[in-house]
């Protein structure tokens, strides 16, 4: 492994593992697999990735795409599985906070939309590109996700405001500030 890339893996693995936990709703095994696959993808394109300005955001979006592809595939597998198999996969997650518990209960795409929106400050169009869907779908998924969160949290306030592209164009340099 390239020494620069090894340093990159060592420096970023905790952040990516945490992000993987967010995406997967608290599945440590899938989060670890996703982190490994993400680093593998980044390693294959390391000559390009090492010059990327926002490496953290680039890595998280790579992970999100991988996870979404995997989620769609796994969903098909679950639907094909026997009812007994499905029942055993419904283990109660670890509840560390009300918000975390509520996030864990969201459907995968709604959770991904909210994570991309509030972690990355992505616009509808940017989220749609990552999840390979239409901006209208992003908007509806965000709305449903927040509705579910409000219900689970027992609060009542307005819909989320996802910036359109003109809003997104005005944002610069804020994505990696929280790494």
């Amino acid at each position: 492994m390239d020494a620069d890339f090894a340093d990159f893996v060592a420096a970023k693995q905790n952040g990516l593992l945490r992000y993987g936990m967010l995406l997967t709703g608290g599945d440590p095994h899938t989060a670890a697999d996703l982190a490994q696959e993400t680093f593998l993808r980044l390693g294959r394109r390391w000559r390009h990735v090492r010059d990327v300005e926002h490496q953290d955001a680039y890595a998280r979006r790579t992970m999100t795409r991988l996870w979404w592809s995997r989620s769609k595939r796994d969903r098909r597998d679950v639907l094909l599985a026997e009812p007994e198999d499905r029942a055993t996969s419904d283990a109660e997650p670890a509840w560390t906070s009300d918000l975390w518990a509520a996030l864990q209960q969201l459907p995968p795409r709604q959770r991904a939309v909210l994570v991309l929106r509030y972690y990355e400050d992505c616009s509808e169009k940017e989220i749609a590109e990552v999840l390979a869907c239409r901006p209208g779908t992003v908007k509806s998924q965000a709305s449903r996700g927040m509705t579910t969160l409000r219900r689970l949290m027992g609060v009542d306030d307005g819909d989320p405001v996802i910036p359109d592209d003109s809003d997104a164009a005005g944002r610069t340099g804020g994505r990696s500030a929280h790494e």
Partner: protein
């Protein structure tokens, strides 16, 4: 932005989320990279086998030429020399490649078979890398007045400085050349698991008296 949205933003960025402990993640990534490289080399070899097999089948279907052929020249690589060796850095996933130019000499009518069975050694000792072109690799017959270009993937080098390259032909003849001192060598990577050399291409080039060459 509502209070819930503010809470959500703060939580996804800074919230207390259990992070799985994966102490061997870097090792797992390195291992997966090695397996990926090996699969890629195997894929190239398989593609070469398919192409070579199709060529053989095509020749058989054409039925060949019934005209008696003159006796084939004796295979010999005694006059073949390694004229140059260099490293092409490469772009993207291709990685660096070793490009060897073998000169067929200027006299006689011997034909030097290059292909399956031809062995390439880079360096000596514990750091040495060796490969023997596998069955199914394209075969060329290098004759006087021709050059042969042989290209191999060369992803890792953990030795000191530019090594010596040795080509040993199936006839038993061999030729060697030291890589120039300013050669841009591949990175070492994992010293315990050097990447194997992989066949990329082999072709002959006619060398014209004026010094120009044409692909053959």
């Amino acid at each position: 932005m509502s209070d819930l949205e503010k809470q959500l933003r703060a939580f996804v960025r800074e919230g207390d989320i259990p992070v799985p402990h994966v102490p061997d993640l870097a090792a797992r990534v390195a291992g997966a990279q090695r397996r990926h490289r090996q699969r890629r080399v195997a894929g190239v070899a398989a593609a070469v086998c398919v192409v070579a097999g199709a060529g053989v089948v095509g020749t058989m279907l054409r039925g060949g030429d019934s005209t008696p052929q003159p006796a084939a020249p004796t295979p010999s690589c005694a006059g073949v020399t390694l004229r140059s060796a260099g490293v092409s850095t490469g772009l993207g996933e291709a990685g660096p490649t070793l490009v060897l130019t073998l000169g067929g000499g200027t006299g006689g009518d011997a034909r030097c078979p290059i292909g399956p069975g031809t062995r390439i050694d880079i360096g000596a000792g514990v750091e040495a890398l060796t490969t023997t072109l596998a069955p199914g690799t394209p075969r060329v017959r290098l004759h006087p007045g021709q050059d042969a270009l042989l290209e191999l993937t060369w992803a890792t080098w953990c030795g000191d400085g530019p090594p010596r390259v040795r080509v040993t032909f199936s006839t038993g003849d061999a030729t060697t050349l030291d890589l120039p001192a300013d050669t841009a060598l591949p990175d070492c990577g994992d010293p315990s698991a050097p990447a194997p050399l992989g066949f990329v291409a082999l072709r002959t080039i006619d060398v014209h008296p004026g010094g120009t060459a044409g692909s053959g």
